[in-house]
Symmetry: C2
Subunit: 414 residues, 2 copies
Amino acid sequence: MTVIEKMGAKAKKASKMLSIAGEKKNDALKAIAKALTDNAEKIIEANKIDLENGRQNNLSESLLDRLMLDDSRIKGIAQGVLEVAALPDPVGTVISGGKRPNGLEITKVRVPIGVIGIIFESRPNVTADAAVLCLKSGNAVILRGGKEAINSNKCITGIMQDAIESAGLDRNCVQLIEDTSRQSSVELMCLTDYLDVLIPRGGKGLIRAVVENAKVPVIETGAGNCHVYVDESADIDMAANIIYNAKTSRPSVCNAIETVLVHKNIAEKALPVIKARLDEKNVQIRGCDETRKILGDSVIPADESDWETEYGDYILAVKTVKDIDEATEHIAKYSTGHSECIITKDYKNAKKFTSVVDSAAVYVNASTRFTDGGMFGLGAEIGISTQKLHTRGPMGLNELTSVKFIIEGDGQVR
Amino acid sequence: MTVIEKMGAKAKKASKMLSIAGEKKNDALKAIAKALTDNAEKIIEANKIDLENGRQNNLSESLLDRLMLDDSRIKGIAQGVLEVAALPDPVGTVISGGKRPNGLEITKVRVPIGVIGIIFESRPNVTADAAVLCLKSGNAVILRGGKEAINSNKCITGIMQDAIESAGLDRNCVQLIEDTSRQSSVELMCLTDYLDVLIPRGGKGLIRAVVENAKVPVIETGAGNCHVYVDESADIDMAANIIYNAKTSRPSVCNAIETVLVHKNIAEKALPVIKARLDEKNVQIRGCDETRKILGDSVIPADESDWETEYGDYILAVKTVKDIDEATEHIAKYSTGHSECIITKDYKNAKKFTSVVDSAAVYVNASTRFTDGGMFGLGAEIGISTQKLHTRGPMGLNELTSVKFIIEGDGQVR
């Protein structure tokens, strides 16, 4: 058995106890929150080594910032753990059921999935966030973080394991793969005997690598080439405001927009208003010919690749369309199925857009930035699924569960 | 583009119309039912060619019987189509929703998955059964049946396509791959650009081949190494009756049992009663040492492989256990996660068994043969999922759908 196979076997064993652990899971979560706060100094020291290594390896300032942990960030993580503890336990929830004509009582209940793998990149807060969501939903977890944060991750995991043990649960409910070579990540992707599902959290490159190489089931998250379509009847100020928010409030996240489609009959009036708002944040516009005719040569000509690109930056592609059908066809062709929005006053077009557009979240007159577990009222989120099987959209605790049918009888045969 | 890629593109196109087809889907189903009945003679003629080829290729009588279509079987298929037409349409069902504090109205609704592939073996009735379940749930389907039934399948598919077209829908909602070489099946498993999910229906070999080779998402169905555990407190007659039913009413199906575990304290009384019932059908028993001590040397000694085997035949493995924990541990080790049952009068043991055993269907005092879409009240079934993601247990129309969040606002930004 390799090191990772051994971890898999331990996780499987821990998951069996955890699936029936009930209230002890919350004891463990509260113990984790307290231990993280109590050991803040230790975590910060470990984190300093990562930061120092990062500087020596010339990590960018923004990456160093994502890596950095201080007192206030650790308090934030601990607070998040307590919020998960306060959520209702999904395990055991009755989804449906009833008595069949033959007297059999059938109940469909939520059960944990089993063992979940999480592969993530530099941010060490994911270590705690992901672990506690898995723990609360009754799943054992194997974490595989990036090498940049390995010292922070080891420290945080050790603290969590001690806390879990202090609550009377198996410390192997949460494990961290300490080997950050490519080999360890490939091995995790192929751990079919022990891993029930693998969730990648991070950039496009990571997610593609996992989806293409994994032999275990994967939940694909996060790719967001999101669109706003400005309908002929749109309120132009609302359109400009939503586009400004969806593009600039946090351009690096997956629910930010990348392309705006504008009905040709409103383009001449709307585009200058939209551009004026985007100029406040120096957003670079890449436009089709029609857009450039209206907005002038300062707009960079867009080519095919612009419709496909998730910029994650202060860049926006803009295209005029002849009608709503051209808009929905463009979206069908280029969207990653994350979030799309129509700005309209027209009832029929609103209904058409929400019915025809095949994405996880389809908006009328609101910013795509709301696609988020917290904003949707799920309480916490482990990622946003852009696939159609198992779960689609923001994934909360329920989405980390499976189901089981319990059938109670008194001797029925068929 | 290969032939199969072209079929994929056509299916994708058809699925877009189908996803918003509403009542036209039922018109198509009714047209299919009528056309199958009206064209029964034509189907029987095509089927005769398959039967003749089968005989020349020395297919067994039981395989020839599964392949055979006559008037009454075709009427049965048409009746099944009408029953699916009468079921509620899952598409558009609101699963949950509500108004958020910021005024956003969020609704989670069912939508079709898109394009479904079905790989199946000899029975030509699957052609119609699977196609109409996909059609009703708004999905386009690509069928890939076995070579034994190719003439029947071509005939049935052609009739269905004409009927679909007569109802005003795209005939490519249902397509059949006419090439029955291994190559065509491998190509379908890798059709990632067009296929949203692939469902294998058939024997263990087929299912393993699909799970191991597919690059598209797969829903694993059907492997059933099912168990009955006879607890110390069991009603012995009930135990014998349930075991008799679960083993012999249809030994070839996935919800039939393969192993019986008996508490050692009841074994001496229970085993002879159970054996007497099984003798009625000449069931071969393969027992552990303890079982052989009680039942005598006519019982064949069981080895490790017997605990792992899905016989699908009049053969049953029997093992005594020292307590319920040994029973649930045996099940955890050898079960395929399909259906397991405890026979008991003890409340605590009933609760323990249903809580600890991690299978799609867990029974107290009833035959595992009830694990079935019809018996569970789903109305129709495309298979029984033994995986934990997306869906577990009998799969009806709901399980052939995904979800979408629709968010309606009046200008909200974040």
